[in-house]
Symmetry: C2
Subunit: 408 residues, 2 copies
C-alpha cells in the first residue's frame, strides 16, 4: 500500500510526524499558511521545552541541530515560596532543551522539505477537510485554533476547565544570568502562580525565556495585561518589583540594568490557555478519517512542560501505526487512540492537578524532596513520563505512599 497522508499544521506534532513518515518513505504533505522565512518576523509563539524523551526522537529523525551540551539543561531547580521557602534541585537524567519555535519550526520545515516532504501553503479551514480527505488515506489535524479547533468534540470528562487557569506573560529576556547548575528554575509563589525560567536557544544564542503563569486575581496577573510598547520601563519595573517580592531566586540572577525583552514586544506573549482534551478522531465521510494530534487533541497549560512532549509522542505512535497497518479506517483510529491514551491523559491529569491549590500530601512530598535529592531526582526525571508521575499523584493516598517509600 502506497499511503498518502495530509497533515494540517506545521507545529511540532505535524513536523515530527511528517519527518517520521518521510524516514519510512510515505508520501506526505503538510498544509500550513506560513512559509519558513516568515517565522523570524513573528511575535513570540510560545516557550516550549523538549524533555530528553523528545530530544531522543529528534535524534532518531536526524533533526537535533542543537547540541545537548551547549544548549540542553541538566536539571530542574525548584523554589517554593511561603513562610519557610524551599529551594532545591533535581536531575533530569538526560538534558532537556528549549529552542525558540521561530527558530525550531522553520528549521524542521526545511529538513522535511529536503527529505522529500511536500508543503502546501494554504489556510485550511474545517470545511476543507472532507475535500482534502478525498485524495489521501488520512488527514491529521495538528491545529487547535480557529475553525479547526471545533472539528473534534470536547471530551467533557477529561476537560474540567472552561477558562484559563493561568494568565500567561511570556518573553525572551536579556539580563538574566544562568542558574548556578544551568538548570531550568520552577518558582512557585502561593496564590500568585509560577514562573519557569527556561534556558532557551534564542535568536541571540543561548538565552532565557521567562514564562510567568499567573493565577487570575493574584498579585502578578497585571504582568499579563501591561502594554510593553506603551511604556517599556513601566512594564520592566513592574516585572522587576514583583519578581523580587515573589520569585527571589530568579530575581537574584537578574541585572536590572540589562533586563529587557531581547527584541522588544516581538519577544513578548500575553494570554492564556484553556486546558482541553478532544475526541481523537472524526469521520469525514466515504470511510475517510481525520485524526487529532497535538494541541488539536489535547491542550495543556504549559506549567509542566508537557505540550510538545505529548505532541511528539503521539506523532510517533501515529507514525508507527501508519507504517505498520495496512488499512486506515475507524479501527485504525481506535488503535492509535488506545496506544496514546495513557500518556496523553496522564499528562493532562497531572498538569490540571498542579494548577489547583496543592493537596496537603503534595506539599509534604515537596518538603521531603527538598531534603532528599534522590527522591527529587525521581520526580524530576518523570517529567519525561507523565504516566509515572501520575502514578504518584493520582490521589493523596498515592502521594503519601510515595512519600513513605522514601522514608526508610
Amino acid at each position: 500500500m502506497n499511503k498518502k497522508i495530509a497533515i494540517v499544521g506545521a507545529g511540532v506534532g505535524g513536523l515530527h510526524l511528517g519527518l517520521y513518515l518521510r524516514q519510512h518513505d510515505v508520501d506526505v504533505t503538510i498544509y500550513t499558511d506560513r512559509e519558513p522565512e516568515e517565522y523570524a518576523g513573528l511575535r513570540l509563539l510560545n516557550t516550549v521545552t523538549h524533555h530528553a524523551i523528545t530530544v531522543a526522537r529528534e535524534k532518531e529523525l536526524g533533526v537535533n541541530h542543537w547540541c545537548d551540551e551547549t544548549y540542553g539543561y541538566p536539571g530542574q531547580t525548584y523554589y517554593f515560596g511561603g513562610e519557610k521557602p524551599l529551594h532545591f534541585r533535581g536531575d533530569l537524567g538526560s538534558p532537556s532543551r528549549a529552542v525558540d519555535y521561530r527558530i525550531y519550526l522553520p528549521q524542521l520545515m526545511n529538513d522535511f522539505l529536503e527529505r522529500g516532504g511536500k508543503i502546501q501553503y494554504k489556510d485550511i479551514q474545517a470545511a476543507d477537510l472532507a475535500g482534502l480527505a478525498k485524495s489521501v488515506d488520512l488527514v491529521v489535524v495538528c491545529v487547535g485554533k480557529g475553525t479547526l479547533r471545533d472539528v473534534f468534540a470536547r471530551n467533557e470528562k477529561l476537560s474540567p476547565h472552561s477558562a484559563p487557569q493561568r494568565i500567561i506573560c511570556a518573553g525572551i529576556y536579556t539580563g538574566i544570568a544562568d542558574e548556578e547548575h544551568r538548570n531550568v528554575t520552577l518558582s512557585n509563589s502561593p496564590g500568585n502562580g509560577e514562573i519557569i525560567d527556561l534556558p532557551t536557544v534564542t535568536f541571540q544564542g543561548a538565552g532565557h525565556a521567562l514564562l510567568t503563569l499567573n493565577i487570575p486575581g493574584g498579585d502578578t496577573e497585571e504582568w499579563a495585561h501591561l502594554n510593553y510598547d506603551e511604556n517599556p520601563r513601566r512594564f520592566l519595573d513592574a516585572m522587576l518589583k514583583k519578581l523580587e517580592k515573589y520569585h527571589p531566586t530568579i530575581s537574584a540572577r537578574i541585572d536590572p540594568a540589562k533586563f529587557d525583552l531581547a527584541n522588544g514586544s516581538r519577544d513578548l506573549l500575553q494570554g492564556g490557555v484553556i486546558p482541553v482534551v478532544r475526541e481523537g478522531y472524526i469521520g469525514l465521510g466515504d470511510d475517510k478519517f481525520a485524526i487529532a494530534l497535538g494541541d488539536a487533541h489535547a491542550t495543556v497549560d504549559p506549567l509542566m512542560g508537557q505540550g510538545a512532549n505529548m505532541a511528539s509522542y503521539s506523532a510517533f505512535v501515529l507514525g508507527e501505526e501508519i507504517v505498520k497497518q495496512s488499512v486506515i479506517d475507524e479501527r485504525f483510529c481506535q488503535i492509535v487512540d488506545d496506544k496514546r491514551r495513557d500518556r496523553v491523559e496522564c499528562a493532562t491529569h497531572w498538569t490540571n492537578l498542579f494548577l489547583k491549590p496543592p493537596r496537603q500530601e503534595t506539599m509534604q512530598a515537596v518538603a521531603q524532596m527538598s531534603e532528599n535529592r534522590d527522591m527529587c531526582d525521581e520526580f524530576t526525571k518523570a517529567f519525561n513520563r507523565p504516566e509515572e508521575q501520575w502514578n504518584r499523584f493520582a490521589t493523596g493516598a498515592r502521594t503519601q505512599r510515595w512519600i513513605n517509600s522514601w522514608m526508610n
Copy 2:
C-alpha cells in the same frame, strides 16, 4: 505491600486469576456457593473451548491436566450450507481443547486449594460487596448473573443487543464419530444458525458436545424448546431429522442407534445469552473498588468460542498488574481496563458481527478460504487472537483487502 484479594465466582476467570496470584504468593480468597464435590451432579453448565493461547496459560499455571495429544483438537472443519455447500478445514497451529466444566472447574478449585488459595462457600450478593471490600485491597467480580450482573453498568455503545441472538440447545452426546481429522466442526445453515460439534473431555472420557445456536424463528429453534425428559425419542428424532437436513457433515458421523445424551437431560442445556459489555470497574466507597472479570465484564455469544479465552486473558492482565503495581485504586482499575480493552472489545465486535447475516465480503472470504488452505489456516489460528481477526472483519473493505492479499 502484602496484597489481599477477594474473587467472587469460581469460573475460569476467577480460578485462573486465583491460581496466578497464588503463584505470586498473593493472599487470595475465592467466594462461591458451590463446593467442588457438587459439580459432578449438576446439569451441563455450558460447552467451552480453550484455544491454545489459553491452554498455554494453564501450562504456566501448572493446571493443564488434559494432555494436548489425547484431548486437544488440531483444527477446525467448516461447513457452509446453501445452494453450493462449502466444506473445508483450517489448522489451529497448536491444539485447542474442551473439557466439561463440571470436570474442569472443580479440578482447578482443588488445585487452587492445594496451593494455599482459600475458598469461602457463601452466596455473595451485590449488597455484600462493600462489606467484603473492607478487609481486602480489591474485589474481583466474575459472576455475570443475579444481583451481581447489575453491579457494573451496561456499556451501551458496545452492547448492540437486548435479546439473545441465538437460542441454544447444547448437550453431551453419544453416537457421534470423530471428524476425520479429529477437528471441531463449525457447521452453518443459512437462516437456521450454527452447530459446533466440539470434541470434549466428558465424564465418559473423550466425547462430543453439540452446541446448536439457533436463529430465533429459524427451522431448528424448536430444538431449544423440546423437553427431553417428557419424550427422549421425540427429542432425538427431531435432532436427527434436522441435523440431516441442515448439517449433513455432522449428521453423516452420527450413528442414530447410539445417538443420545450421554447422561440424560443432565447433559442438556437449553437457553440463550444476551451479549453485553459492562463497565470494567466500580467504586465501593472508601477508595476501594470492584473490578469486573469474565462474564461480569463481557458476555459473548458462544459462537466464536471466545468467552473463556477472554476471561482467562483478562485474568492474567489483572493478575500481572496486581503483582506489579504498588497501589490498587481507581488509577489501577483504569490501567487494567486499558490493557485488556482491545482484545475484549474485538472478541465482542467479531462475535456480534458473525451473529448477523453475513456481509457479501465475508461470504466471498469464506468461498476463497474453501479453496485456499493457507488463507483458512490464517483465519483459523486467529481464533486465538480476536484483535487480529477483527482487523480482517471490522469493515467490508478490510475483508476485501484481506481477500485481495491472498489473490496473487
